[in-house]
Subunit: 347 residues, 2 copies
Amino acid sequence: MLRKKPTTRPVTIDEVASHAGVSIKTVSRVMNREAAVRDSTRQRVLAAAKELNYKPNPAARSLASNRSYFVAMVYDNPSASYLLDFQSGALEACRERGYSLLLQPCDYQSPQLLEELVTLVTERGNPGLVLTPPLSDLSDVVEQLDKLGVKFVRVAPVDPEHPSPYVAVDDRAAAYDLTRYLIDMGHKRIGFIKGHPHHGASQARFEGYRGALRDRGLSFDKTLIVQGFFSFDSGEQCGRTLLARKDRPTAIFASNDEMAAGVLHIAHELQIDVPSTLSVAGFDDTPVSRYTWPSLTTIRQPVEAMAKSVVGTLIAVMRDERKKDQSKGTLFPYELVIRGSTGPFGR
Amino acid sequence: MLRKKPTTRPVTIDEVASHAGVSIKTVSRVMNREAAVRDSTRQRVLAAAKELNYKPNPAARSLASNRSYFVAMVYDNPSASYLLDFQSGALEACRERGYSLLLQPCDYQSPQLLEELVTLVTERGNPGLVLTPPLSDLSDVVEQLDKLGVKFVRVAPVDPEHPSPYVAVDDRAAAYDLTRYLIDMGHKRIGFIKGHPHHGASQARFEGYRGALRDRGLSFDKTLIVQGFFSFDSGEQCGRTLLARKDRPTAIFASNDEMAAGVLHIAHELQIDVPSTLSVAGFDDTPVSRYTWPSLTTIRQPVEAMAKSVVGTLIAVMRDERKKDQSKGTLFPYELVIRGSTGPFGR
DNA sequence: ATGAAAGCGCTAACAA
DNA sequence: TTGTTAGCGCTTTCAT
């Protein structure tokens, strides 16, 4: 029977096979890049496939092979720009290999998190998972997934010892560099706004800050440290705390841009001029960091490239039964981006 | 043979069938909400399915039925926050019905756009498409897709006459309200930064602005109109144009928040105080509009709700062979959000 | 209202 | 190196 509207009739493997004068199995072999195919045959098949514009039906593929051609990005409430950048990179990697990206928003504190992920994996024929922070640090979830044979990679994990591929930036070193830069500009009292305590990066950034103070011989004043949560609102609150003091700091380093934007907002409110009487710095180089006044000095991470890389690795793991135990992580370079918020100080 | 790692063995329809003491066809009927099933039977099947935690295998489903359980969001370079909000709503609608969301970034100016979409549709077993702006306005693409029998919905289309479901906000009315608000604050010279010329909303917003001037008896000065492109950079450029003049406007209405942020940036640079000597307004209520100093007066659209609604409609269309010709659009309410950038003026 | 049988397009196992 | 035969889990068609 004819379909109501013959939208676009896909080409099937049989047509390619007969067109190339081989069996469908051979076509299948070529499409799956299997080794045992004579080169001339391969060429013939590829030519036929291209001519007919053949695309294997993913549903049939995964049904027959019990494999998945999906990568699921698992995330909890990321910043919009991070999500966008990461997605772009992930999509790019997927596109190159014929995979599709699935989105799995979730609550990292939910007791059913593991169950939800298992459901996802079960339903979708065992897709690979990309665990973004802070999910990359839920060691029990990670362990369970591993035990279940789920393939996954992690983004910016605190514990790189776990045997799964990952990408990261050296948060500690980045925060160290930024802090040192502030010190070298003449600051002696530098406030620090910590990131969300459940994000591994928060601790690393804080350590970088402390390390720089230490190495430059500045005393560590714990009253200059306040706890934020990576949100604009928490940045405002922390900013108010730090700036309301008589002996307020001359610089504030917030663990991300949104919080730094919050600090700037409060500075404006209190009519504290930036940068002449206060320097402010953030982390992440989100678009927001350009839009504030003054623009924010910050740290840039190559999020898109990292995503592309780690998703590529994941797909490789999904294809071969590659020994995931040996697979290591990749560290990407960060970049210190200097803008107006740490401009000429003290005049 | 046993799989290497028995990740998580999915429950199949056979198990549910035998558990419920019916044939698999009956289970299938129940799962697909077909009518011809006795109620008691339905209950038994549903109970069995729940008990075994049965989830139909989507790959098998789409292979057998030649239907798709995917919705593809087609977009070209949206703002990060728009993408995030829209995705949230779309995912929610998908989750409720057991569909998955696919992402299809593309270039709306590419000559191969239609081809790419057809490929997507062909490969993925005819998923439904969500055309976001400015793709919703490519009338030739829309027509072709329609002709091919592709199911789709449109977001914020200029031409609501085309017979496909859509969601939108009354951009014209919103811009009208915002402009009137500015006029009522005492402004007589209001600069306007147009949005990207290829986005339908741009024209509508501009018309709202003009309409308000007209109704309030203000003269229209076309030298106060500048062409932007929805980007921060274009906002800066336009802001510079408008503010460098001797007889500069006392208020600037930018067609989106990013451009308004650019205007603020320039105002700071030129040391023009906002809001005492200049009012600025944007459109969209992105997070950025809160982060700037002062925060931006703007128009809020319920993006997430709109996405959820329109994707729900799309899925309905995909299920039934519902007469898409009668399906109409939905207009959502906007909201005027007043913030500091249009605070007390003239003092 | 329910069931039996025949595929959907592909890959897996085994032959040749 | 290549082909043959069974399915994968579901929906369809056609009976009953």
